[in-house]
Symmetry: D3
Subunit: 332 residues, 6 copies
């Protein structure tokens, strides 16, 4: 997986997306003629997986004066601890004060997604996780969300934008809509097979019209060796996908000679549910995870000034001066 070339958006650079009081602050300091070299430290409110630092770095590289900057940070994908300093910026305050909102916002949202993804990945003990949650977030962040999920350890994602950011092919099966329009799962799967390039895996969604086990056998008979997997996505109204269903479909596929056909499970998947499938020995070959990752709460980050013109400072409740963290590397 690659990291994309992040380009700061115009509305970030202009302060449009910032809290207005930072614009006020810069204005006041400018008028007062005050522009100290200030050190700001950023830390999270809870432990997790860091993500968004590459994007933050691209922003800082653009705004900080090249000869008066000193930036230390951890990296995307790092495990971070509660209250651990993950970023330390030393530079003239007027050059970066306006971007505090964007910096902590990027880290908060991306780390929230990456952390949730990692929880699923850890629970799955090696079974691949694909991020399917683009449908639960605003399209402006769909790609970033999927990219963060992959930073957290997902094997793939469904959005084109997210996959492009990570430099991989997007993953997908087929929607219920295609099957409902075609009127039959086998017909839809055959049409898929007819028109899609050979490198797109044939994964048939088998819960639209008929019993999942019956439909699995029908599509397997129709596509034979070209069928990669079946996807079980039984809705809650029908009792969701159970471990017993996975075991039964596996047994019936095997009995009919289709051992090569994988079983992909989706629908309300989260670490607890993944754990349930593993504990009940369900032979799952892949999980699609939606809102557990994409709807994850951001991890709040706090940015504090700890030095002003080399003088240790801190607001009440914090300790003045630099907070040591030997894990930090200089990035700018």
């Amino acid at each position: 997986m690659n990291s994309p070339d992040f380009v700061p958006a115009d509305e970030v650079l202009s302060g449009e997306t910032a809290d207005v009081y930072f614009a006020h602050t810069i204005e006041i300091l400018r008028r007062e003629g005050i522009n100290p070299v200030a050190t700001m430290e950023v830390f999270p409110s809870r432990a997790g997986i860091l993500c968004g630092m590459e994007e933050v770095k691209a922003l800082l590289a653009r705004v900080l004066p090249k000869d008066r900057r000193d930036v230390w940070a951890l990296s995307d994908g790092d495990v971070i601890d509660r209250k651990e300093v993950v970023l330390r910026i030393t530079a003239p305050y007027q050059s970066y004060g306006l971007y505090e909102t964007a910096i902590v916002g990027i880290l908060a949202h991306c780390s929230g997604w990456a952390t949730a993804a990692r929880q699923c990945v850890d629970a799955a003990h090696g079974i691949p996780i694909v991020s399917f949650g683009a449908r639960h977030v605003h399209p402006s962040v769909a790609g970033t969300m999927d990219y963060s999920a992959m930073v957290g350890g997902c094997a793939g994602c469904s959005s084109v934008a997210g996959a492009r950011m990570a430099g991989i092919q997007p993953s997908g099966t087929m929607p219920h809509a295609l099957i409902l329009i075609m009127g039959d799962t086998v017909a839809a799967t055959e049409a898929f097979d007819r028109h899609m390039p050979p490198d797109v895996p044939r994964i048939s969604l088998v819960d639209t019209f008929k019993d999942e086990a019956e439909e699995s056998l029908r599509v397997a008979e129709a596509l034979g060796n070209r069928l990669n997997s079946v996807r079980l996505d039984t809705p809650g109204e029908r009792g969701r996908v159970t471990a017993d269903l996975v075991r039964e479909v596996r047994a019936r596929l095997n009995l009919a000679g289709f051992r090569h056909v994988g079983i992909f499970v989706s629908g309300g998947i989260d670490p607890e549910r993944i754990n349930y499938f593993l504990e009940n020995h369900a032979p799952v070959d892949g999980f699609g995870v939606g809102s557990y990752i994409s709807g994850a709460r951001p991890i709040d980050f706090t940015a504090d000034l700890h030095e002003v013109d080399t003088r240790p400072v801190a607001k009440r409740g914090r300790t003045p001066g630099i907070t040591p963290n030997p894990r930090l590397n200089r990035i700018l």
Copy 2:
């Protein structure tokens, strides 16, 4: 509060932000020469406040054929029920199938924010709520988040972008950074007062260096009638803002003749905390709410085909045919 003119983004229109399987589906249907008039219904997984429909409408107005479309919906700000149909699109499927991800994504994220905002507004029984959470989301959605919070009932927001969308002035006080750089709360407040236009309210943040009650009296004495409010934001390390603190600051301000100075409270505010202040008779004049709103979980929305060429259809677990909802209005 106005609603802005939403303009669909290029990467939404191109399908870049969509799940890849919708691109596959449109491709397959095109090659098979299938393009039925299909009716898609959209409903939420839990109750809340609807938001994002104006933005969805702008997208549909752009992509649906003007003479073959029939779209019914509820409005932004409406209270919606679990599983209630909030949007029904009837049009040739190829014209909109690619946008399912964006449509439910917009509604999910925006309704999640609006719903959380409404919970705070309801808890506050008339005390104004200001959205302060831009710092917990990616800057690409900071404006949309604040706009959704105002759809949910907030009286203001801190991001410039969100305020612009709602057609109001952004709200803000001053950051700890300004005070730490200036070295004294009174000095910082006086500088703010010197340089800010008269229509920006003077709200002084009083927990940076000294005891909040002591500092409140100091800034009140310095600015006199020009001081609008003090903001209490005591960090968790110092026991957070308590109802007793608000009462005490109120009493000490009153004793010194500063009855006109309001008290604005922020820091970990959520409905439970708002309720705590009200139950303990704390004379709060405004609440700043951050991650409770901006970090709210999206409300998952589901999009289902219910008719294909006037034929009732549905996947297993759903009921074929149109789901009646007399609350819907035709929007396109």
Copy 3:
């Protein structure tokens, strides 16, 4: 519903089924020449529905001396309270002491079953309950169990013996075995229709091979107006019968013009589950209840002597003398 003519079994009359210490007691009293007129009162350890009294009465009528007996009791089907006296026997002790085990055993087991049945009936608010639990009890009590369930309010039962005791026709649909042997649900239902007398309702079990909704439509099309109901019995491995499934099958049957076909639900049904279906507006036409009724814990009954030769007595912990209960009627 009738009450059968109970005939005391030989092994009850001989004391074979009694606790051995009652045989010892009668032997000792006989050798000591002691045979006082003693009053025994019987009460339950918890509230419920009384059942078994008719059978007890038949036993007492057989063993008590006709001229020296005085027996008062409540009736089968009566609501009884914790510690309420439900039976009071006054007669020479040697005539009935041996039967204490049988008397309280009959009341305990039958009242346990009737009480559980009543809980289901109450929960169902008028939807008929059929007792299906013969398969969870020893065949020696299968009929008595089903009879007790009907005393408790069930509309029918599946065992031939229970139905005979209550003077009704036994209820039944078809087992999975028939369908598995015939290889197809429609074929099995048609065979049933071919060979069963017209007064046996055609109720087809629709979860054996295919999706329940699909199979319901297939059997409805095959039998048309002759089809009485479908039975949903989805196993736990497939997520049990859900309220949504019932609603969906109802909708699909209606859409296809089969409004006359009822829906009968079984599988792990208990009052909580019945309540779930009602609260979720599932249009159920009948419930089959198994082990909740047939596996119900007996209600312990206690038998205490309260008078011996007109002298009030009681063991420690009880009050000497007759316990007044105006609800009792003389039965012998």
Copy 4:
């Protein structure tokens, strides 16, 4: 302990105790001329102690054709696991289909009793348990219940019928009724001693009239070495038997030189209560257990067809074909 010669009851053989739909099924198959060799597997819904298999074997031996039967099973007293196959019948379906209700009913009820008994036996760590629960079940199953309790590990039982099935002497002390009629515990105990054969142990019930410790000393003084034990059965109204009471009675008996007199405890005994006595070092010599064993819930058993004429079959939710279980032995 022996196993009795079980003789199938006429009403079982006639199908009188069966669910009526099995009679229907046999009738339909006969008319259709269908009688495949079918394999039925039986498994429990939860773990426990198997009981009833001897009785089931007697039934199958009677009804299956001797030259076309193949029956494998576990044995009475075996520890069985949830969903473990305990019985596999291969034979022409018409020969045994009618008996499914009886087969699973016998196993359910008997295994429920044996399992509860085993829980008490395990809790008691070697202190003998006597089944005293005949008074909580219908007399038709009183003997079978006590027999099952002994299969589960009880050292004795109170019903004559149960003891006869197990080939032992029934156990018993004396009822409160004897003492109330005689008017004094010592008088009753002396009468018992006068008239009972020497091999019946003298166990005096000491809580009827006086303080248990005082009464224990009185009967010990009256019978001397002939007294086997005292039984403590203090009712709930008087605080039940406590561990302290047992210890105190033991101490007072020892102090008076009656170390040979045992202490037998009854009244609401279950594994939790047994554990309480052991944890509190109460010197109990035997426990009488009533409704915990006799009122135990049956263990539901399920019977599934897995092969029809050598073809693997299964209803939805189950796996087609024979389920391997190396623990099974051929019994017919």
Copy 5:
């Protein structure tokens, strides 16, 4: 009930019982020549019944200068609220500063006892409560504890000192020791009856040697009309006194014609237990309460300066100036 003439102890007046830092404070102020008129307010940390104010008043009357004092307070027995001001002293600080420890200590301990007593009295709905807890506190406060219990509403107490303070006769029955020494409850009760003055009620303790019901009848027969009550005090080892036991003893006494004999219950009595007896309709004529009252946690009181030489002051967390409370009355 009277209030005694409290006389301040020498070691209180000398500061011996005070926190040493108050002695330091007085010393420092004296050396600095500072002795402002200061107003101290005292409030409790939780709601309850006020007690100890009479004793505090006696102390203040002794130490405050008669012409420069102004003391307002609530009264012993008053219901007080959390944080309600119960005492306000205005006087030269040096005259009373040393006594803060004693003032709040007296109120804390006494109010704790009175509050617990009131909870029992409220629970008993008119049945008299007698304080029996002298044995759980140091003898230096036994009288004060019992006096406080009576301020809280008890009808009597067992300690001579407490009764003397309240101006009543102490209450008592007889100890187990007397009965154990005399060897028989009837003998002990007869000796009591022989030697005690006629105005001491004959209350016999009936659980020492024999069953309580049996012993109650024995003492009632021995003393006849002279017997006032029996006391049930069954120890935990014997299952404590139960509501059923009280009902049974009542029934057996009535059956024998001793309706005039009351039933007094003791042993682990607290409001929950009192409620249990009342809910179960136990005919109790009096409760003896021990450690629930005497072992009650003190109610912490806080003393704060609110004015110094007419200037409103307060430490952080409190509001400067007099706290209005219209319920206060001037006491000095």
Copy 6:
């Protein structure tokens, strides 16, 4: 720490503080001429730390006949178990029967305090605990309470009386009252420093007027090396003392070069709170504990006669005769 010379109080010796029924008992026995040598055993209702035995010993030494006494006991400070015999008195009953109330009352109250103190000491893992709770108990027991706290392991106490009993100097800092009267924390601390002898440690209370961290630096600058510690006592209205506050004050003191200044914490301290500070690595140098120790529930003790004139006796529920306890030592 020493043990003081306890002198029995007159009102204890006269029976004034006793339960009246003991006076009655002695009177009756005297009139009956009964005075057996009786053995009384005393045991606690729960485990803890024994305290009060020295005081009990002084009482017994005074009242028991020197030539007919035999007293065995455990010692103050010993860990004792539930129901363990801690005191056994053998002497003529008339000589000590009157003092049962005082004996068990002294042990109950003192052991309750010592046990609570030990819990704090154990939680603090070596950080000194000072007893500050005199203000929550009646002054008659303030000294005894503090003495018991020191028997439990406290390093000091605030009451003069308690310190005198233990033979140490009382501990104390300064009250809020001194600072409120002086009007400034630094001024008050300087006055303290001026007038107190050099051996009284200078501990400044820093939460009265200003932020604790700010005030700590101010007093440290004022007193320099003479400052021993600061005391943090932040009230609940201001969020109590937090671990973060302690860490911050430590950091700010160190940054300013005041590493020699200790931090003493008080306000609602109990074992759970101590544990919280330790788990969160707060560098606390001492804890002041108030009502957790002084308001601790007494440990109920029970006194039972076990022999009367060498004959084993016991009331129901207890075992007759001497209870062996090899840990006892003869004390009289």
